[in-house]
């Protein structure tokens, strides 16, 4: 397999499928994704949430990311979030006798609690799908430029771009240090020795990173770095960009109207 020179640790960029949003300005994609997510998180009723999900799925199909990656991300709900969702039917008191789903021992599951859990799952899914469709396929540098174009402070953008740059370098550093521990017979167990060893590992990683950053700063200063990269001005928005922005706005507004319209 070819060595992965991409700045992104994930395989998204390496995929060769054509992304229908590739021609849209990154700033527009970012703002559209954020506004649509905000609108969907504010929804309360199921018809509107399902509509949001359908729109997010449609956007995902158009972006054509690898299915495996999308599935993995949707499963990446942390254990404790899962716990909250599982507990919700039992912790939301039933609104009436008709709301009781099952009663077992001292536990009562309520239909309204189940509904609330379903709403949260729908919202989380919509956000993950939308971000994957519109933003996750951006190159980190493009993403940084889009943020700068939207008025994000230059210092923060520089910080972001450099963090992405060194993430992969340091991940390899960590792998190297861990391998050398394993070669010396280290096995992670739940004891004081293991924890201290991991602490030393983290400390060593930080020391090496600190030294590395001194060399990076020296090298960057040599090349005239004074605190921010010269990001060239972004091209003005094209009619296509405006078209996409209007479409995204319509999608968000349609969901909100469906949510508030008396059915």
């Amino acid at each position: 397999m070819a060595h992965n020179h991409s700045l992104l640790p994930g395989p998204l960029v390496a995929e060769e499928l054509r992304d229908l949003f590739a021609g849209i300005d990154p700033r527009v994609r970012l703002v559209a994704a954020c506004l649509f997510c905000l609108a969907c998180v504010a929804l309360g009723g199921f018809p509107a949430l399902v509509m949001g999900l359908v729109i997010a799925l449609a956007a995902l199909v158009a972006a054509r990311p690898p299915v495996r990656v999308v599935l993995r991300r949707m499963m990446a709900v942390e254990g404790f979030m899962l716990l909250i969702l599982v507990m919700l039917p039992f912790t939301v008191p039933p609104t009436g006798a008709g709301d009781v789903l099952l009663s077992w021992g001292g536990l009562t599951a309520s239909g309204s609690g189940l509904m609330q859990a379903a709403r949260i799952i729908l919202k989380t899914t919509i956000v993950v799908l939308t971000l994957t469709a519109l933003v996750a396929r951006l190159e980190p540098l493009e993403f940084g430029r889009a943020l700068a174009g939207l008025g994000c402070p230059a210092k923060l953008v520089t910080l972001l771009v450099l963090t992405v740059r060194y993430f992969d370098v340091l991940r390899r550093d960590l792998i190297r240090l861990r391998r050398s521990m394993q070669v010396r017979g280290f096995r992670a167990r739940a004891n004081w020795h293991s924890l201290r060893s991991v602490g030393y590992l983290i400390g060593m990683l930080l020391v090496r990173s600190f030294d590395r950053s001194e060399r990076i700063i020296a090298a960057m200063r040599c090349r005239g770095f004074t605190g921010a990269f010269p990001l060239d001005r972004m091209a003005p928005l094209s009619p296509q960009d405006f078209g996409f922005a209007v479409m995204a706005a319509c999608a968000a507004i349609a969901c909100l109207i469906l949510d508030h319209a008396p059915l």
């Binding site: 992104l8 640790p9 970012l30 954020c34 997510c37 905000l38 998180v41 504010a42 991300r73 709900v77 942390e78 404790f80 979030m81 716990l83 909250i84 912790t91 949260i120 919202k123 989380t124 956000v127 993950v128 971000l131 933003v135 993403f143 210092k155 923060l156 910080l159 972001l160 450099l162 963090t163 992405v164 060194y166 993430f167 340091l170 550093d173 960590l174 992670a188 739940a190 004081w192 924890l195 201290r196 060893s197 991991v198 602490g199 983290i202 400390g203 060593m204 990683l205 930080l206 020391v207 990173s209 600190f210 950053s213 001194e214 990076i216 700063i217 770095f225 004074t226 605190g227 921010a228």
Partner: protein, 206 residues
């Protein structure tokens, strides 16, 4: 310890996001222009360190190390952690965009409180004392993060109260783990590269 979209009440999100933005501004101002690459490398290091999982009974926890981040970076912990969260949620597409400010508040506020309280002592005392102080800071930061998460949940509705209690209980062992690991990391840095903890009296802080 991320809260997902659509769980926490809007007023809680709005308040914590506003505080997070203020912290972000202060943090950015505290970074000297030419030191930006240094903060970036350290923020990437902590991002990488969060990939380390510690086995804990039947499950495993990943490291947060917000106490150590606070000790090393001070106010710059805000932008450093913001970048990590932003990359995770937006660029890698893991979600959590409307709760970005809340999640930043939950980890960065404890980081700065513990960091500012502990960094001068760590910088000026001998390794054993610095380790003890660092360990307490590491454990306290996790405790505060767990409390913030629990309070955010509890303020969002009665139905989340049991979950809030579980969050606090589940973080007891994490507190111990992070405290011990932070203490060991501080000892190593004190012995190998003590100038990574600059004292306010000798050198200008990072």
């Amino acid at each position: 310890m991320h809260i997902a979209d659509g769980v926490v009440a809007v007023p809680v999100i709005a308040t914590t996001s506003a505080i997070a933005v203020a912290g972000l501004g202060l943090g950015l101002r505290s970074i000297d222009d030419t030191r930006v690459p240094q903060v970036a490398v350290l923020s990437a290091t902590f991002f990488v360190a969060s990939l380390v999982h510690i086995n804990l009974g039947p499950s495993s926890v990943h490291l947060i190390l917000n106490g150590l981040i606070g000790v090393l970076l001070g106010w710059a912990a805000f932008p450093a952690m913001f970048v990590g969260l932003l990359l995770q949620s937006v660029l890698f597409g893991f979600g959590g965009i409307t709760v970005l400010g809340l999640n930043l508040f939950n980890i960065a506020v404890p980081a700065v409180i513990c960091g500012v309280a502990a960094r001068e002592v760590i910088a000026t005392s001998r390794p054993a004392v610095a380790a003890a102080v660092g360990g307490v800071a590491g454990a306290a930061a996790i405790a505060m993060t767990a409390m913030c998460v629990a309070i955010a949940l509890a303020l969002s509705g009665q139905e989340f109260l049991p979950a809030a209690e579980i969050v606090v209980l589940a973080h007891m062992p994490v507190m111990a783990i992070e405290g011990l690991i932070t203490a060991a990391a501080v000892v190593l840095i004190k012995r190998v590269r003590p100038d990574m903890f600059p004292s306010r009296r000798t050198v200008a802080p990072l």
